[in-house]
Structures are given as C-alpha cells and as structure tokens.
C-alpha cells in the first residue's frame, strides 16, 4: 500500500512537469490558435539562459567569467526579461507578417522557431549539459519519511508548489485584469475583439511572454532535477497527449491532464510493466491519448461550445 502511494505521488510530481509545458501550449493556442511546437525548446532556451546568467557565462564565447555570475534572484529576473524580449521579437518579426495565414503555416513557423531557438541556445551558451543550482531544497523529505515512511523528493514538492502558485497567478490574471479579459475576448472571437479596439499584436506579445515565463519555470524545475540539456526540449512531445486528454484550450485541462498522464505512466510501469516486458512509460501516454481521441475528442475540459440562436 505504501509503495502504491509512493508510486502515485511520484507520478503526480512528474505530471506537474507535463502540466507546466502543456500550460504554455494552451496559453498560446487559446489566444491565437497557433499550435506552438517550440514550447519545449523555449523551456530549454530559458533554462540555458538562466544557467548562463547564474554561472557568469559570457554569451557567444562559452567562457565563464565569475565576476559576471548573478545571484539567483537577479538571474531569474534577467531571464524573465529575455523571455519577454523574445516574445516581442517573435510578434514583430514573425506573427505580424503571418496574420490571416492558415493554421498549418503558423504551425510550420513554430517548427522553424524551434530550430532557431535551439541553435541560438547553443550559440549563446554552449551545448554542454549544465547544472542548475538555484539552492532549491532536494533530497528526501525527512518529515514524511519519519512520520509516514514515505519517500518523497523535496525538489518535486517545491515544483508542485511553484506550479500551483503559477496557475493561481495566471487564473487571477485571466479573470480579474483588463488584459486578462481582453485575452479571453480574443480567444472567443478575435474579429469582434479587433472591432472594440483590442490590439491583437499586443495580446499576442503578451501571451507569448506568459508562455515564455511558464517555459522558464518548467526549465528550472526540470533542470534542477536532471540538468539543462537538449532532452528538455523533448518534453514537448509528452505535452501532446496531455493536451489531447485535457483539451487544447483549457488551462485546468492542461493541469489535470498532466497529472493523469504522470500518475498513469508510473502506475502502469510498476504494475503492468512486468507483464509486457517494461518500458510502458515511453508509450503509455500516447495510448491513453489515442483511446481518448476515440471517446472524447474535445478532451476532458475542452471549452464547451455555446450554441444558442
């Protein structure tokens, strides 16, 4: 029983990561209908940038100059700044010129963007695996171990808390602020939003910046656990089944979908793995997504279409 609880908890915590990446997708998809293939690479790029700032790496030279090393809070702020700048650049240089294009063209654009960002990350910060040391707590939680005999990594608990805070902040931003309201308006009917004077360009820059910040959080959490390396960009592939499960346009869907996939994977690996020779973790998410596509193509939380005449 204890082992089962441990499995579920570790699944939940892995799921938080998927949720974070999926959340970045949902933000952009909701506001602009673009399926952003580059979301995973954005996490990688953010992580690399943060690691670079922390260690004092001089961009383009891959030399470390300890005098340039920033304290964690400054490095995080600077990286947020870089992600915002990146969003503005993407809007100015790319999105603005692709207005009114077919969704597939915008998707191809994000494919290209993924390669550009990956290359830029390499060029700026070098391609070696980086350790990300923000001084986050890690190791087993003694309290849980002593009182309940549960083994839970503190870092993953921190990740879960941060994710929860992030979601709460986003929810408040969406529900309570003028810009959040405009974002939802654009998601509902972008022509009507345009007609009341909401500038789509501004809104797009804002959602890409928000997605960039979400990517940074994902990059930090993942990087603190296993270092910043190229494989980070591949978690984007895991986000796809999460989105199918949760619905492409639903923030709660991204969260719950991520958790379900995280737990499902771990439980299946542990309890079904032995019967089929293991490695279920690699494909379980996709099977689940496929099954879901057949039963409920709009996802668990896909926005209900309001039909009324």
């Amino acid at each position: 029983m204890l082992f089962f609880v441990e499995t579920v908890i570790s699944g939940l915590l892995a799921g938080v990561m998927y949720s974070l990446v999926a959340l970045g997708f949902v933000l952009i998809f909701k506001a602009s209908g673009v399926f952003n293939f580059a979301q995973g690479v954005m996490a990688l790029f953010a992580g690399l940038t943060l690691a670079g700032f922390l260690s004092g790496t001089v961009p383009f030279t891959h030399q470390i100059n300890p005098a340039l090393a920033m304290p964690p809070w400054l490095a995080i702020l600077a990286t947020v700044g870089v992600m915002i700048l990146l969003a503005i650049l993407i809007e100015r240089l790319v999105l603005r010129h692709l207005i009114n294009q077919e969704p597939i063209i915008l998707f191809m654009m994000t494919l290209g963007l993924a390669y550009v960002l990956e290359g830029a990350g390499d060029l700026l910060w070098g391609s070696d695996v980086k350790v990300l040391d923000l001084g986050l707590p890690s190791g087993a939680s003694d309290w849980l171990l002593d009182n309940y005999g549960l083994y839970v990594d503190k870092l993953e608990v921190v990740a879960a808390v941060v994710a929860a805070v992030l979601v709460a902040v986003l929810a408040i931003f969406f529900q309570r602020t003028r810009i959040g309201r405009a974002l939802r308006a654009v998601a509902d009917d972008h022509q009507a939003a345009l007609s009341v004077g909401i500038s789509l360009n501004t809104i797009w820059a804002i959602v890409w910046a928000a997605a960039g910040i979400v990517a940074l959080v994902a990059g930090i959490m993942w990087g603190a656990k296993s270092g910043i390396q190229f494989s980070l960009s591949l978690i984007a592939l895991k986000a796809l089944p999460v989105l199918i499960l949760g619905g492409f346009d639903s923030v709660p869907g991204a969260i719950v979908g991520g958790l379900i996939i995280g737990v499902g994977e771990k439980v299946a690996e542990v309890y079904l793995g032995p019967f089929v020779g293991g490695a279920i973790e690699n494909w379980f998410a996709y099977m689940l997504a496929l099954a879901f596509l057949l039963v409920r193509p709009e996802g668990l939380f896909g926005e209900k279409i309001i039909r009324r005449v």
């Binding site: 939802r184 009507a192 007609s195």
Partner: protein, 283 residues
Amino acid sequence: MQEAVSITEARRWGAPSPPILAVNNIEVVYNHVILVLKGVSLSVPKGEIVALLGANGAGKTTTLKAISNLLQSERGEVTKGSIVFDEAEVQALTPNELVRRGCIQVMEGRRCFAHLTVEENLLTGAFTRRDGSAEIKRDLELVYSYFPRLRERRAALAGFTSGGEQQMCSIGRALMSRPKMILLDEPSMGLAPQVVDEIFTIVSNLNQTSGVSFLLAEQNTNMALNFARYGYILENGRVVMDGEAAALRDNEDVKEFYLGIAEGKRKSFREGKHYKRRKRWLA
C-alpha cells in the same frame, strides 16, 4: 485630395460643420480579385443617423468594415478612394486607433464574447480608454440605464442570453468606448419586431441625448427610414439612390423594391421608372 477640397468648401459655404464621416468613391477588393464595392460615396453629418440600405450581398457590411478598417483581417482591401473620419484619413489608422478616436463598429450577428459575462463584455469595450476606472464605472452605469435588461443579466455568460440581450450587449459594449460614431450593422437581424422596436428606440435616444452619430446598415428598410434622417441605397456595390429618409419612404421604387408595396412586376431596381443612374464622384 478630393475630401480636403470638399471640407474646405463646406466651410466656405457656411455649412454648419464638416461631416464626421466622408466616404469618397471607394473600391473594395477581396482576395485581390473579387471587386465588391465599385465606387461608393456617402457622408454622415455630425450627430445624425444615416441609413445604408440594400439587399443581401449589396455590400453594406463591406462598406462598414472599410470604414472601421476591419477588412484587412478578412483579406479585403480598399483599392481606390478615401475615407475620412473626423478629419483623419482612416486607411492610415489601425482599428485600435480608430476606436480610440471615437469610431467603433457593432458587427453583424451580435458578436458578443460568449464565454464572458455580460458585464465583462461591456468592460472590454473600454479597452482603449485611459481615463481611469472611476470614469469607466460611471459609463457602465450609464449603459445599464439605457439597457436595464443588461443590468439584470450582468452576471450571466453572454452566450446564454437571448438574441435581443446580445444585441443590446454589443451596442452597450460599443458605447463603453465613448464613441463619436457607431457603425451599426443590421441590429434587427433575426429579432422579434418588439425587440427591434425597443433597440431602435434606444438608438434614437442615444443619438438625441449624447449626440452619437450612427451609420446604420439595414435590410429592414421601413424601420431604418423611420429612425434615420438620410438614407443611401446600395445595389451591387454601388450607391443607386440617396436622399432624405422621408423622400425615400415616399419614392415609388423604394416602396416597390424595399418596402414590399408592389405595383408592377419589374425585376430590378435598375429598371425602375423613376430610377436614374447617377454617377457619383467620378474620379
């Protein structure tokens, strides 16, 4: 050039004031090939309601979208002519800047934001304003006083309100931007006669109390001519007739083709006995 001349001319001749909107001989092309407007000219004097009439596909919506600069997002383009709103060239402005300057469109088909509440919908109309939340709140109350039904439904999702309430919501939303002029596209579409009447009465009140000018695109000719001061009739992308609303109401051809008071069996407005094709603003 042309409009600059006409404005100064109007001043010289001592006209009360230049029109708030002047459309001069515009052509609109969709997708680079489909010519939809073939030289439309009209003007709206400050503080007046002007009707733009015509059958399905005549080009009313296209004209309004050209004025509010929303064509771009539909791959439409003004290829000829000029539009001047409040002494500013419209083609050089974004929809955002136009709304800020006081020209806002209420789109055909009551495009409320379905997943926002009625009140949130109204507030999105104030997006371009920079005069603080106190002023915005005051205007919200003002809109509620014009449309008491919206106050009752303020917390309901707009997608679940009735057609009439949605139309009121769209108009109220436009009012929240503090417009000088509203481009109102077929407010009567699909609504029961009493509701249409209610909405037109409110529009007329608004016009009289707050001086907002209206360009009103309608198929409901009778209703529109009752409330408007002046009217233009659009056929196939051209203005085929215009005049004081009262004169249009009494015109035999208008009666026959748009008010359904038939006398003969002619097939097109163009063949009408009183109809004389007028070339306007030949450039």
